[in-house]
Amino acid sequence: MNLLDTGRWYPIARSEDAPPRHVCQAQLFGYEFAVWRDDGGSVNVWENRCPHRGLKLSLGINTGSELRCQYHGWTYASGSGICTHVPAHPGLAEPSKACALALAAVERDGFIWCAFDPATAAPEAAIGAGLTLRSLPIERDAAAVQAALADYRFDPDGRDDAEPAGAALRELTPQTFELAAPGSAVRLVFLLQPAAAHKTILHALLVGASADPDRLRRHHAQRMNALRAALESAVPAAPATEPSVPMHKLLPVRRPPKREFSCRVLSRRQESEGVISLELAAADATPLPALAPGAHLNLTTPSGLVRQYSVVNGPAERDTIVIGIKREPDSRGGSRSMHDDVREGTLLQASVPRNTFPLVPSGKRPILVAGGIGITPLLSMAQALQARGEAFELHYFARGEQFVSFRERLAALGDAVRLHLGLDAAQTTAALRDILHGRPLEQFKVYACGPGPMLELVRTTAAAGDIGADDVHFEYFRNDAEPAPGQPFTVRLQRSAREFEVPSGQTLLQALHEQGIAVEASCEQGVCGSCFTEVVSGELEHHDLYLSAAEKASGKCLMPCVSRARGGVLVLDL
């Protein structure tokens, strides 16, 4: 049992080690893991290493739906581990390979279990509810600990002066062993966590005992301590070392989780004049991604345009995604298509939610300021704050009663909501001054979303009232929804004698992958150098940060993730 079996469930922590908003560190076969629970109760067991620069993720912040790395603030979604935000580049897509390495994880009988292979079948029999005893690290391998368990004696009622008889150790699974107290219904189940080559964590669960829990815990603590002392008094254990094989090499080859998913419109509602809401459900059995307050989806409209919509969900709504859409009079067709072409049952393509407008943990009281359709991300924040019992206020500016959306959700927020209706520019300025001035502003943080002129007003009013620029947060949508398309061109592969077209709007790397040509790629932002490709001829358009000026001028290489040809024929040495 000392060898790692990637298709087996191992206990990695007790349920109580992962309370809400906490991240704990755990070990299995020398590998370190960050173990955490999202606000919906799901547990995550992730390699304890940020895929960006290797910082331990256990130092990060559990936001309730994501884990945020302490080094550069990158956030990773509960469940998939997909990166949802790179704060250094609010306007760029996150690298698709930036993904926390997640093991399969389940919780049962008061313990968190994990399996390296995501295809591992769910564990069968449960042990049953019981009293969780103290877990004990023992500086010996699991086989030695298992052998010692056969001599363990205990009294079912936890009487220290009793002289209990021995019982046979029964293997329930390769990681769990049961001792039944003779003449009693009490069962003691040991769970072995092989933390490292010479370290085992011994967990124990007492089932069917009725005596005082404190007495039982004390009774077993003494006996388990004695077992540890006997084991460790033998030859000293070898020192701990970092495992030399990277964790991903232990796992079956798998692609990073897909950032795109299909969803179906469950319902469509008219929320107010010019605004509809859509409730979206996953189109297949794949669970929906976790949603952070302030997150937005990229949706492809039926007319083929990509548009961003903030999610309106409260923290408890995990089965569907709710978005609000305003019909923009000067729309280039995105919102018009969503209003005119989408009905119940319509299938839409969406990307994993990004969270570029996060609620920043600061201890300061949030003032949420919404203008018009800008209510959507702030509503999601307000519901999250209410669920956590944190004080906040939500100011909603709208042109009139008939333009107020999401009335039921607003009503549920109670007194925290103030409506400011039908104000002109001067009145809006005055209202913002009332909200933002005359307060000890170092105790507040402002989150604002709305039309550009109103955000500018929030910015200037806050500045005039001594509120620091650091305490005013604005929604920031990526501005590359319409990517610089580039010219179409023809690619000729010299060595494999193939030819294909790259249309405007597609990267050369995407085109190569679509043709089934294996080109390694990592950052997909032209910075890491992984996709370096040699060029025979062509007029090149370089957009990367990796190649030197001389290399770019040579015309002999390019980074196909961001660079392309200016038209004509590009001949590659592939």
Binding site: E32, N48, R49, P51, H52, R53, G54, L55, K56, L59, Q70, Y71, H72, G73, V86, P87, A88, H89, P90, G91, L92, P95, K97, A98, E242, S244, V245, P246, K249, V360, A469, D470, V472, H473, F474, E520, S522, C523, Q525, G526, V527, C528, G529, S530, L545, Y546, S548, A549
Partner: protein
């Protein structure tokens, strides 16, 4: 293992000279080789320890004591600002770290972590964006990152208000890096911070910091304290990076455009055939 030639011939910082008490013998290691050094009336002296009679030169430059273990030492890199008469030169301490020295250099070259690691000093949310900057290798085979800008709440010991600072980063040697930054009292000149990393071994290093400043307000102690506050915050990150040695291949640690300097540093290490302190899983597995 064989230490890369470029490192073997290079000079490695072992102490800030002002921190070396006369007449006392100090023991340390350089590239895994145990050495001793001391200062007396004749200046600095050094020897290898443990009966090793190989070369062990010592020299003073930039307020720092440097050791070279080779008979064919490389020339020193230049810091012209050091010789300007109105400069203050302050040693800001030597801190031992359980991580590859390459990771310590890379952390020094990074702006993206300011709002998260140096919150309220060198950065703060929501000002998290790293704007594009330029990276190039110059004629001396040094890496330069220019046009780096960042909004900082308190950029130095004498900056009271947030300012947009302008940085130039320079990597002169694998373990020698410098930062040139906006100087609050003299906007046309720049303060210089030198970070000289002593590679004790592949997974341990000492970071020696020297400030070459135009500040005439703060005491040495105040400048030192500010720099040590900043470094203390970095330390918590550096000792918690895994693996401790630095991977050079992008598939193991994924960069973004803000990491153009780090990406250039890793490429430059590969092209200069530096393996010491790097993480190479294939070699370990073989």
């Amino acid at each position: 293992m064989r230490v890369d030639e470029m490192l073997w011939r290079d000079w490695h910082a072992v102490a800030i000279v002002a921190d070396i008490a006369a007449g006392r013998r100090y023991r340390t290691t350089v590239l895994g080789v145990p050495v001793a050094y001391w200062r007396d009336g004749d200046g600095l002296h050094a020897l290898r320890e443990a009966g090793d009679t190989g070369p062990c030169r010592i020299a003073e430059r930039y307020a720092t004591a440097w050791i070279c273990l080779s008979d064919a030492p490389l020339d020193f890199f230049a810091i012209p600002e050091f010789d300007e008469p109105d400069r203050r030169v302050v040693g800001a301490g030597s801190i031992r770290l359980h991580v590859s020295g390459l990771r310590a250099v890379e952390n020094f070259l990074d702006m993206g972590h300011f709002p998260y690691v140096h919150t309220g000093y060198l950065g703060a949310e929501p000002h998290t964006e790293v704007l594009p900057y330029d990276v190039a290798i110059d004629a001396n085979n040094e890496i330069l990152a220019t046009n780096c800008r960042f909004v900082q709440p308190r950029a130095s010991a004498i900056a009271a208000d947030p300012i947009e600072v302008s940085y130039t980063y320079r990597v002169a040697r694998p373990f020698v890096t410098m930062l040139y930054k906006t100087c609050v009292p003299a906007p046309d000149r720049r303060d210089v911070i030198g970070l000289f990393i002593q590679p004790l071994s592949e997974e341990w290093c000492v970071a020696h910091t020297v400030l070459i400043y135009l500040d005439d307000v703060n005491s040495d102690e105040e400048l030192r304290r500010f720099q040590q506050t900043i470094f203390g915050q970095d330390l918590m990150i550096l000792i918690n990076q895994v693996p401790k040695r630095m991977p050079l291949e992008a598939r193991h640690e994924i960069p973004v455009r803000a990491d153009a300097m780090s990406s250039a540093y890793r490429r430059w290490l590969r092209e200069n055939r530096i393996a010491y302190g790097t993480w190479q899983p294939e070699a370990v597995e073989a």
